[in-house]
Symmetry: C2
Subunit: 469 residues, 2 copies
């Protein structure tokens, strides 16, 4: 990084706020998944923790002038290489922008800085009767969840980040600060810049503040799990439960192997069988005669589910969901010394059982270790491969497998974020991901995305090398 | 329009498919509101009804080459001048692209051509147990509803068009055909082109097909209306009902004058008082002991609502909602020979009562005739002025009033689509709207919108003069 850029940044922030240490830089070049070891890490040249939108704006202006890349990050809990500094530059870690600015109880919304984490927010909200439901497992930051269009276990009831943002404040590539809307629940004027920034992984602008929807804390929660002989039965029971309108907040599917891994790491009494974890949220008046878990249990019986077990107490519920949230680590723990390579596929729910079964068959056929788990209510599943980072044959086979999974999801009318392809060793970083985005969207839509990127970030300084850019 | 363009279009479609008649052209230059007479109509030079996406693409290529504007339209039920051909050109009416292409019952989605209307779609779906809930009143086309980000009476339960689209097919300004996504319920790859096109009023691309979410037909529906002495009480009762989680599908607020107008045109037994219309959708198991309308009724009593009347039969419900859907025309009928000028404001619900009361006071103070009604669950309301199109003083006062309303909504953290300003007689078409978009979003966000428009439609041929362009 040129000396005059460092000087300008030091002039703005003071020299003690620029971190050049190897440890902090490496921490911002890797994430929790296998990439770091398998494909090398991509550290930024400097890490900065801005404290205000105005600071972010000034930093971007300095970097823009010198054409230095900027890689925004939040809690750094991504599993998918989002924050790797592929072309060096400045890592902008938002964790010090962690103020909760304004809670509007009557309007059920809150304005926060981008670095606020979801657990911090919910602790803050505890006494208001409101909560922020989106739950991707990790204690991610709101800005990071927006940038990656996060969803998680209870999207089937509360939607994803896309559905829960009212407006954003963001710093654009030229340092200008924009507001994308008002606190109104609906707007019919202007282009939807809110949704354009959500999921853009920091490639179009840096989200600095967000006004997001809150929901009433459910008056009643119940949970259950169901074990079946066949995965297809679990999926069909899910379809039926959703269509019946039972207020499911989460339905998570664990395949046989995930179930075995979770059993090994938790106190849950499970057999190694396809398993559904349920959580139902409702108001107390929903529970007057027939409770949602009873109704769901009856539907499950129709689909051959024999072991529908209700988690009656809050403690049992916590054990169940803690086990689910730890599943990624439980799966990896099955093969010591190895690293996880996650994928993120989503297909229409009618094709879900078929897609998972083909994927399991493929995994067995090519001798790879891994398990499948998913947010089955949305047709969304993760296949987590567990790889020996020193075994190049295995890494190669995993890349081939992940390519087939992406094609399978697209062929079934779905989508796949294919992390192996993102770091495709053969073709270079970025190439593989672009290939699948083209297969999913077609070249004309990719061209439209490129035009937008070029219009909003003509110098290509915002998180370069991501989103196929 | 240059002769060679007409020749090219005739070569593509056959000469009988280009309509040059004054009547059909004028029909495509006006809409159902007051603009036509107050500010002149803006007819296109030719009207074409394409039959396929391929035809739309070829037409756009011809027009792009010759830099001829293209104004897409659907059922032409807009009240807000969306389809006026401000700079002449080709009106592309999508009503012949009315095929329902694919119903996926298990996945609860449907793929349709843009010209399919919502009533046609719901008649087609009747036996499937599914329905498409978005209901803006008129029998609008799906493409038109997407382009204007329509919402309507039951958005409080089912969301707006933004929330109910899975993917779009669109023809871009260069004639290229894009698909914005898959049928997957969630996607975490790529920019959200679906949401960018929704609400863009045909200025970024022409929507030709859409895959949209369906919902289960509610097993049980109940309706009610409540009359109060004070509008504030109605709004506060609404806030409380929503926070309590009662499954409200619609809550519509009618002010005193709207109520009087509706009473005059329907068989409803109403007094001229602030009134709420309710509809509750639920599964039968919700209705086992305490029904939603009973619970809502009790809440209303706490807020001084004395006349909570339940519409028990399907017939009573129909009368109630028909009256609401006709309210716009009932209001205009109060002043024969006059035209309606609607506005569309949305504020945080905590500011709704205040905003409506200030607006009513303003209307009285400046001697304008009009009424207010709204989708109160979302903080969204319409103030419908009823104007004598030949009285220039009145038109002028209405413009001033509408400007104050827009500023009031923005000041209260909301948004206002201000139709008077869109056709601002003093400053020219488009100017006024841009002014308010700048006040709402700020100049930096408007600049981002302009960059996107310029990147995707560099020649400015798609519905020019709208969206502040």
């Amino acid at each position: 990084m040129p000396g005059h850029v460092v000087k300008s940044l030091e002039g703005l922030l003071g020299s003690d706020r620029l971190s050049f240490g190897a440890a902090i830089r490496e921490q911002h070049g890797r994430d929790e998944s296998y990439h770091a070891d398998a494909d090398g890490i991509f550290p930024p040249q400097v890490v900065i923790l801005p404290r205000s939108t105005a600071e972010v704006s000034e930093i971007v202006k300095i970097c823009s002038h010198a054409r230095i890349p900027i890689i925004p990050s939040g809690a750094c809990t991504s599993l998918e290489g989002h924050i790797a500094a592929l072309r060096g530059g400045v890592a902008l870690n938002m964790r010090e922008m962690n103020k909760i600015l304004e809670v509007n109880q009557e309007d059920m919304d809150v304005r926060v800085q981008a670095g606020v984490t979801r657990i911090h927010l919910n602790e803050y909200l505890r006494d208001t009767g409101l909560f922020f439901p989106i739950d991707p497992g990790a204690d991610a930051s709101i800005g990071g969840m927006l940038s990656t269009r996060a969803s998680g276990t209870n999207a089937v009831r509360y939607g994803t980040m896309r559905d829960n943002a009212l407006s954003l404040e963001a710093v654009m590539a030229d340092g200008s600060i924009i507001s994308t809307g008002s606190r109104a629940r609906k707007s019919s004027t202007g282009y939807d810049l809110t949704r354009l920034l959500i999921g853009s992984e920091g490639t179009l602008g840096i989200i600095t503040e967000a006004t997001i929807k809150l929901h009433g804390q459910p008056e009643a929660i119940s949970a259950a799990h169901l074990q079946s002989e066949f995965l297809t039965d679990s999926v069909n029971a899910t379809i039926c439960i959703i269509q019946s309108g039972i207020p499911v907040a989460r339905i998570e599917l664990l395949d046989e192997k995930t179930c075995a891994a979770v059993k090994a790491q938790s106190k849950l009494e499970l057999e190694a069988k396809p398993t559904l974890f349920f959580e139902f949220h409702g108001e107390s008046w929903n529970f007057l005669q027939a409770s949602p878990h009873q109704l769901a249990g009856e539907i499950c019986k129709d689909f051959g589910g024999s072991r529908f077990k209700w988690a009656g107490s809050a403690e049992e519920r916590t054990t169940l969901w803690k086990a689910r949230h730890q599943a990624y680590y439980s799966i990896i723990a099955q093969r010591p010394g190895c690293k996880g390579m996650p994928t993120d596929a989503c297909v229409p729910i009618s094709r879900l059982a078929e897609c998972i079964e083909e994927t399991e068959g493929d995994m067995v056929a090519c001798g790879l270790a891994g398990s499948i788990l998913g947010h089955v209510g949305d047709g969304n599943f993760h296949c987590i491969l567990v790889l020996d980072p020193n075994n190049q044959d295995e890494i190669h086979a995993a890349h081939q497998f992940a390519e087939r999974l992406a094609r399978r999801a697209i062929r079934m009318g779905g989508t796949c974020r294919n992390v192996a392809a993102l770091f495709d060793g053969e073709h270079g970083v970025g190439y593989g991901k672009l290939k699948f985005m083209e297969e999913e969207y077609g070249p004309a839509a990719i061209e439209v995305m490129r035009s937008i990127k070029k219009a909003l970030d003509p110098l290509g300084i915002l998180n370069p090398g991501k989103m196929g850019s």
